[in-house]
Symmetry: C2
Subunit: 272 residues, 2 copies
């Protein structure tokens, strides 16, 4: 699963900051959560699959763009992602990985050079850190950030559009807002379709199969005040949950909260 | 008060259609409601005030752009509105007017040439007909249109920003939508800041002083289904209610639902 904790609204990290952070990750000196690291820079969820599953997963992402907004797909066997960073190497540049065999995690290494194969395809999927920066810059407080918690996430009764072996329920993240801030949050996040975009639901959690907001399926429960509405976004946990449920013989993902830091700026992603 | 009934999503009226409609209004042959007339064309709320009140009212609109989005303000004493239509004459081109003395309607004529004075200033304020067209074109059904009713409108506990003699509560219109359509409605109406723009509230009517949705202060009650949220927009009734409450010695407005039809297209108003 992905952690979607926190967001840092400080000034954007410089090119040399990014080089320094990447070097620490690459050498294994840093293997922690990336929330708040490299402020202003796009972070991504990572799914690495053998080529025989990659076409189905690509199709799954195409059919489910809200939970699975693709930032980049590598060439088969290539460990570079030139559109996300000139020197990126997906084998070393994620702080911590999960290596999966038949749906079970068998290793959580700091690099995956020893697992690399010539048939692997890397998918990098947008992350809500990007739109959370825009919300924070827009003066909209985020409850989970204020409380130092992870965002609340729920499996819904909304089915994703299946593709080959990949199917399962849409997972959503929830942020409580006053009605006025909920409207503003729709406006702000609509500008960022490549990082989940606008909410998919607000108010009335029971309509999407969430019976108890106090019991999230992932992350932390967040209080929703009497003058607030719960606002729900499609969540990057969805593709990871779908891949885990498909139990591929072999798969690599980032470890929860340990995202790929890219050279791209969140502001670059704004659609208008 | 303004009626904000209906919307016509048919193909836009042509230039000759508009000329024909305007001629019928100008000659007094048509004096009815303009909902559905001149599809695709901007319609406006009209407030005409003596110059000694016009500065305060202009300031009121500037301070309250959500309920009072100004489409045009005439030169003092001029009955033309060239930015809204080359041949427009505000003395004849509204189907029916209300003439007010000290807060009371003293006449509802089809033209106001006999009331015209050299110190009058005309304000034309955007109308929700424009964004309702965009919602309808976006595939979002409008309950009041489906039911052939007027939209529901409520006085809220939100005070407008006063200016001189003008002050009073914000009036809102309410349209019920499913959560997904409510989100889409925020996106669509955000594109139209000059016709009230995004909603100001959704869900939880009690937070803005509306105790009973079934008892609107203007217009018709609309059913809100269990899977819907009430969505509230700042309403063009606000400036008229504010002007009526200020009881100016002399004032002219359009009669409810009998709007000024302009040459401008609703699509021209879209901000992106």
């Amino acid at each position: 699963m992905l952690a979607t904790v926190g967001v840092n609204s400080a000034a954007a990290a410089t090119t040399s900051d990014i080089a320094s952070i990447r070097q620490r990750i690459r050498t294994g000196a840093f293997s922690g959560h990336t929330s708040g690291l490299a402020p202003g820079h796009v972070q991504g969820n990572v799914v690495i699959l053998p080529a025989d599953l990659a076409t189905d997963f690509l199709l799954f992402c195409q059919r489910n763009p809200k939970p699975c907004p693709l930032l980049a797909v590598s060439e088969r066997g290539q460990h570079s992602l030139p559109t996300l960073g000139a020197d990126l190497d997906i084998r070393t540049d994620v702080p911590r990985y999960c290596v999966w065999n038949d749906g079970a995690i068998i290793d959580e290494p700091r690099d995956i050079r020893r697992y690399w194969r010539d048939d692997l395809v890397t998918f990098v999927i947008g992350c809500s850190f990007s739109f959370e920066q825009a919300l924070t810059e827009g003066g909209i407080p985020l409850r989970h950030v204020t409380l130092g918690l992870n965002v609340a996430m729920y499996r819904t009764c909304i089915a994703t559009e299946p593709a080959g072996r990949f199917h399962g329920p849409l997972v959503v993240s929830m942020r409580p807002f006053t009605p006025a801030n909920a409207i503003r949050a729709v406006q702000i996040t609509s500008r960022f379709p490549s990082v989940h975009g606008a909410p998919i639901h607000l108010g009335k959690p029971e309509l999407i199969g969430i019976d108890d907001l106090a019991r999230p399926h992932y992350g932390d429960a967040l209080p929703v005040a009497a003058d607030e509405l719960p606002v729900f976004w499609a969540c990057g946990v969805t593709p990871q949950a779908v891949v885990a449920a498909a139990r591929p013989a072999f798969c690599i993902t980032h470890a929860p909260g340990c995202m790929l830091i890219t050279d791209r700026l969140n502001h670059e992603l704004a659609s208008f």
